[in-house]
């Protein structure tokens, strides 16, 4: 678990990133490293709602699940990256470069998969 926490903390320390959470599909927060303004359980609950709603809709449409979701909002961006049974949720500010953050998230997701029992080997 420490390895996941370390990976999240490393990600959080990078420029423009406001925090990261590993959340299961039912909204349980497995690990978190977030700015104070974002409560982990709130981020977990909202991410769970978003992913369950989206995945259900995609499956009903015969398209299968979502591997990654990128959301651009007025005051921030969010990436939700699938880790098999869980998702890595990364919050970053609206000025962050999406391509760079995508790459960083991909690397951290890989690290988490390697060190976690949640996901399969990457």
């Amino acid at each position: 678990m420490n390895a996941i926490q370390d990976a999240l903390r490393d990600l959080h320390h990078r420029s423009g990133i406001k925090g990261a959470v590993v959340v299961t599909l039912d909204g349980l927060v497995a690990a978190e490293s977030l700015d104070d303004r974002y409560p982990g359980d709130v981020v977990g609950g909202l991410a769970s709602f978003l992913l369950m709603t989206l995945n259900r809709s995609l499956k009903e449409g015969g398209l299968g699940g979502c591997d990654q979701f990128l959301l651009h909002a007025t005051h921030g961006k969010v990436i939700l990256k699938a880790l098999d049974d869980a998702y890595l949720v990364c919050l970053f500010d609206q000025f962050a470069d999406v391509a760079t953050v995508r790459q960083e998230v991909r690397e951290v997701a890989q690290r988490i998969r390697m060190s976690s029992r949640i996901g399969a080997d990457g």
């Binding site: 709130v42 909202l46 809709s57 398209l63 979502c66 959301l71 651009h72 909002a73 969010v78």
Partner: protein, 367 residues
């Protein structure tokens, strides 16, 4: 309420919130919304109804729940404002209360409010304007001559009290030409034009009315004829609006076609309310892709708002299906499904253009 009762309700709410998340259906949303309505938490009921409608846009029970929640909120607001009116009456508060009562269709309460308003502020034409508006609603709904005559009497009174009362004059100008009193209507519209030189819609309306036949000046008689006939003498000015909508639709369709031509793009849609324009591999309005776009936009909107990061305006979902990109601007959505390797930035840029540039009304396939 006893502590035990409160705990029971809290437990029930928690159960229903979980059910809504895990087994979303119109029934689960309505059950949850109903509990909030019973608790008079109309804002929460409204949130539930909006979330439910995003997932089940055609469910009539969700629309009823939304309507019920909105009415509850309006009633709550009207009660608050009435309490404030007792402490410190002023025309602005009277107007707000009267407008809420008109929205709620509470005609008796509206009359009472306007009566008190005109007694306390006899020089303010607002009470007569609101009464006229309420009567006009009744007239246009039932074509009842009595309502029409009363509407004209109230609006005339507002105009007499303040010759610069723009809204009353406009409403008078509109109802008079609709019943056939074209010359009287033109008088009001010309006065209005003197007050608002740069109003393009007004100029268009005046041109339209000038081309209509005058059916006489006895307004009372004209209202009676409308009631007997069961129809108005002249139709509303719509031709120009239709033309502009057609131009808007054809331009959107063209841009959508352009997006669908981007290499890798399979499906493209433009959605406004319950209508959708589609291009690419979409058979009709029942294609599940349209629902996916709607659900994705609504879920992302809710996520962004609750997390306090603002409105989610661009979203991209990746999977074995490739990419689904959705752009949102107010009630307008545009979405694309494309293969892996497609230039996502180009697609998002085009989608953003189409939603930001579309402010005209849309016709299209019902989805």
């Amino acid at each position: 309420m006893h502590l035990i009762q409160r705990m029971k309700i809290w437990k029930e709410l928690k159960r229903l919130e979980i059910r809504v998340r895990e087994e979303p259906s119109p029934t689960t949303f309505v059950d949850l919304g109903q509990v909030y309505i019973n608790l008079e938490s109309y804002d929460k009921a409204l949130r539930v109804a909006e979330d439910g409608l995003a997932l089940f846009p055609k469910a009539t029970e969700m629309k009823k729940l939304l309507d019920c929640a909105r009415r509850g909120l309006s009633k709550q607001r009207a009660t608050e404002l009435k309490a404030r009116l007792i402490r410190s009456p002023n025309p602005k508060l009277f107007r707000e209360v009267a407008e809420l009562q008109m929205d709620l269709g509470d005609v008796a309460a509206l009359h009472q409010t306007c009566q008190e308003w005109s007694l306390r502020f006899p020089d303010d034409p607002g009470a007569w304007l609101l009464l006229g508006q309420a009567r006009l609603l009744g007239f246009y709904r039932d074509l009842a001559a009595r309502e029409g005559r009363e509407a004209v009497r109230c609006l005339d009174r507002a105009v007499e009290m303040d010759g610069n009362e723009v809204q009353a004059r406009r409403l008078l100008g509109e109802v008079l030409y609709r019943v056939g009193a074209v010359n009287q209507s033109i008088e009001h519209l010309q006065t209005l034009q003197g007050l608002r030189h740069d109003d393009g819609d007004l100029l268009q309306l005046l041109e339209y009315v000038s081309g209509l036949d005058d059916k006489g000046s006895d307004v009372e008689q004209l209202f009676n004829e409308v009631e007997e006939r069961g129809s108005l003498a002249h139709p509303p000015v719509t031709t120009a609006a239709v033309t502009s909508a057609e131009v808007g639709v054809s331009s959107i369709r063209e841009t959508l076609g352009h997006i669908a031509d981007i290499p890798g793009v399979r499906k493209a849609t433009y959605i406004k309310g319950s209508r959708a324009l589609v291009k690419g591999e979409i058979k009709d309005g029942r294609d599940p892709f349209l629902r996916i776009v709607r659900v994705m936009a609504k879920a992302a909107y809710r996520f962004g708002r609750r997390l306090d990061i603002g409105n989610a305006c661009k979203n991209v979902a990746d999977g074995d299906f490739g990419h689904i990109c959705v752009c949102v601007y107010g009630e307008v959505l545009a979405g694309v499904q494309c293969d892996e390797g497609t230039d996502i930035d180009l697609v998002l840029g085009e989608l953003q253009e189409i939603v930001a540039g579309s402010l005209s009304p849309v016709g299209g396939v019902n989805s």
